[in-house]
């Protein structure tokens, strides 16, 4: 199996994967009762009539968590090849990796001290 053949398998799998959950939904669509009315298909929320718009402004804390996560996510991208090749490296490989992680830990420490990690 060459590399592209492997990915052809993944691609085919990706095409099939949504079909599995879709199948029971489609079968249910054939059998299920249909008796819609205005009240039933209104937004349920918590059982009481909905007040106002759903799209309210959210707090910025979510965004900050998202940002910190993004930075760490990009860091992972560099660390994965580093970890894969780690056994072939000399001590210098460790030092470089350590510096890389250490700098980012600094950023985490800064966020901590600035209370950016607190849920408010």
């Amino acid at each position: 199996m060459n590399v592209l053949n492997e990915w052809a398998f993944v691609g085919l799998f990706a095409l099939m994967a949504p079909v599995f959950p879709a199948l029971p939904i489609v079968i249910a669509w054939l059998f299920r009762p249909r008796k819609p009315n205005v009240l039933k298909s209104s937004t349920y929320e918590c059982g009481v009539e909905t007040i106002g718009d759903t799209w309210v402004q959210f707090r910025i804390q979510y965004y900050i968590y998202g940002l910190i996560f993004l930075v760490f996510d990009v860091e992972m991208v560099f660390l994965f090849p580093w970890a894969v090749a780690y056994n072939e490296m000399s001590l210098f490989g460790f030092v470089a990796g350590f510096l890389f992680i250490f700098l980012l830990t600094d950023a985490l420490f800064y966020a901590w001290k600035k209370n950016a990690l607190d849920w408010k």
């Binding site: 060459n2 590399v3 592209l4 053949n5 990915w7 052809a8 691609g11 799209w55 402004q57 959210f58 910025i60 979510y62 965004y63 900050i64 998202g66 940002l67 910190i68 996560f69 993004l70 930075v71 996510d73 990009v74 860091e75 992972m76 991208v77 560099f78 994965f80 090849p81 580093w82 970890a83 894969v84 090749a85 780690y86 072939e88 490296m89 210098f92 490989g93 470089a96 990796g97 510096l99 890389f100 992680i101 700098l103 980012l104 600094d106 950023a107 985490l108 800064y110 966020a111 600035k114 209370n115 950016a116 408010k120």
Partner: protein, 170 residues
């Protein structure tokens, strides 16, 4: 079969990439725009697979769909009008000119060899593995400086973001 599969894949991913891009610019709904953008970027991940760079494909999905999409939705919810972009923000002609200019720049940048001819051995025949990438990142004459510089950049990005996003009082 192999050429066939690649060709089919290329068409599928092109449709995803271009269709997603079209979706982004035509929808009036910011969240739907985000989803379209992800469709487009997923297509790009497919290109990476076709180019025998599965690591970059995984990175594309991990970083863009896993992180950027989430970040954009968080950012979208910080804005006021999610479902209808206000009419006064729509500037068809300037954006058309700008995107056309960018497209032409990219087109010429890729097709016209400005910095001399490309030697024909530019495209390597050897498929590099993730391990080679890792070794190149830290070994002597490799890319240690860019590797560490990336870390500095990420640190600066995070500190800057927190500095701007935090309230003054806390």
């Amino acid at each position: 079969m192999e050429l066939n599969a690649v060709t089919i894949g290329f068409f599928v991913f092109t449709i995803l990439t271009l269709g997603g891009g079209l979706g982004v610019v035509t929808t009036r709904n910011l969240f739907q725009g985000t989803i379209w953008l992800m469709v487009s970027l997923f297509g790009v991940a497919g290109y990476f697979v076709l180019l025998s760079a599965p690591f970059l494909a995984a990175v594309q999905v991990l970083v863009y769909i896993g992180a950027i999409a989430i970040l954009i939705t968080f950012a979208v919810m910080l804005t006021r009008s999610v479902t209808r972009i206000n009419e006064r923000y729509i500037r068809t002609i300037p954006s058309f000119v700008a995107s056309l200019a960018l497209f032409l720049v990219l087109l010429f940048g890729i097709t016209v060899p400005i910095f001399g001819d490309y030697p024909s051995e530019m495209a390597p025949t050897v498929v590099m593995t993730t391990r080679d990438l890792g070794v190149a990142l830290v070994e002597g004459n490799g890319y240690v400086a860019p590797f560490l510089l990336a870390s500095v950049l990420l640190t600066a990005a995070m500190i800057g973001a927190i500095f701007i996003a935090r309230d003054e009082d806390s």
